[in-house]
């Protein structure tokens, strides 16, 4: 828990006040920096004390079929087709939109791959709102992209998990049955509300 120093002096002497309990509204729940390849990353036992969740990811994987690869996200271990996704994207001088009702997972980060320039990673932020609210299906919003010297692409995704249960775990994995490589990072934040 962070402590913020407010001033060096006062009538009561040196004054320190802990602000994090009331004022630090975005906290790290968990973070993983890969030291070796991994086919998936799971955040489990997600605490229910926040209003929203945010995933921040910087990834590269072993896919060889293109310069980018989507991240799939399972919620609470649900591997059935209880999801929907929609997107708009831009690459080169083109733009596309699309939809995936009854999808087998949500889609998040668009990561770099083995064919992307060396040392390049894709980045993305996924916001999952009201993750504990049992009156709502869970909607995600992701802004993500990957860029290197020759190609690049940005993607804006929405996702829906058609279940009102509170989210307690999230499993992140690269599409196309590959693994994330070393130095990929996955962080989960809780946002108070």
């Amino acid at each position: 828990m962070a402590t913020t120093k407010l001033s060096d002096s006062g009538t009561l002497g040196n004054k320190y006040e802990n602000l994090s309990a009331d004022n630090n509204y975005m906290e790290t729940i968990a973070s993983t920096l890969l030291t070796s390849s991994a086919s998936s990353i799971t955040f489990s036992n997600i605490p229910q004390g926040y209003k929203h969740l945010q995933i921040r990811a910087i990834t590269r994987d072993g896919y060889t079929g293109g310069n980018g690869n989507n991240m799939g996200i399972y919620v609470n271990g649900d591997t059935s087709s209880n999801y929907a996704v929609h997107y708009m994207l831009s690459y080169s001088s083109s733009a596309e939109t699309g939809a995936g009702p009854n999808n087998p997972y949500i889609i998040g980060n668009f990561g770099a791959t083995s064919t992307t320039a060396a040392n390049c990673f894709g980045v993305g932020i996924t916001d999952i709102l009201d993750y504990s609210n049992t009156n709502k299906y869970k909607t995600t919003r992701t802004l993500t992209g990957v860029e290197d010297a020759s190609v690049g692409q940005i993607r804006f995704w929405s996702g829906l998990w058609m279940n009102t249960a509170a989210i307690t775990s999230l499993t992140l994995f690269p599409q196309n049955s590959v693994s994330y490589v070393q130095y990929s990072r996955f962080s989960l934040y809780g946002i108070k509300g």
């Binding site: 209003k51 929609h86 939109t97 009854n102 829906l160 058609m162």
Partner: protein, 162 residues
């Protein structure tokens, strides 16, 4: 970690819905404002707009998609779920209002999505401009028509610079 992100207030819509989601007490001690919105309209109305100090922001440029097609226009609405969407689905949006206390025009950045288990869900990225030079002391979210549904919520945050 320095504390730079603060909650100002959360509004949650109760039974019966609400015609607006309003934040009427905004301290002038931050650099920027951020609204995180999770909502749904009770009518067949799938956008909402934002008003600053009681005046709807109308200058807009957005890039949007409707599932099967995308385009750019100057419409000031942000997408949310509506009565025709699958039950229990709620839109997801973030609105950032920069330099809200300044005596200059106010720039806003928006990303908003609705979700549905069909091909026609909507999403948009947008930039908006309010030409008011008065510091912003109130912010309202206003449905295109109808009311926000029960359980819709929005939280207003203040963002400080170091």
């Amino acid at each position: 970690m320095a504390n730079t992100f603060f909650k100002i207030n959360t509004v949650t819509v109760g039974a019966g819905g609400a015609a607006t989601i309003a934040f009427n007490v905004i301290p002038q001690i931050y650099s920027d404002l951020k609204i995180i919105y999770s909502g749904r309209n009770v009518n067949n109305a799938y956008t909402f707009s934002i008003a600053l100090n009681g005046t709807t922001v109308t200058q807009s440029r957005r890039f949007y998609a409707t599932g099967s097609s995308g385009a750019s226009d100057t419409y000031n609405g942000m997408y949310t779920d509506y009565s025709g969407a699958v039950a229990n689905s709620f839109g997801n949006a973030e609105i950032n209002i920069f330099n809200y206390s300044a005596s200059t025009a106010k720039s806003l950045a928006v990303d908003a999505v609705s979700e549905d288990n069909y091909s026609s869900a909507y999403m948009n990225l947008g930039a908006l401009l309010s030409t008011t030079t008065i510091p912003i002391s109130s912010v309202s979210l206003i449905p295109e028509s109808g009311n926000f549904a029960q359980y819709s919520s929005a939280t207003l945050y203040g963002v400080k610079r170091l």
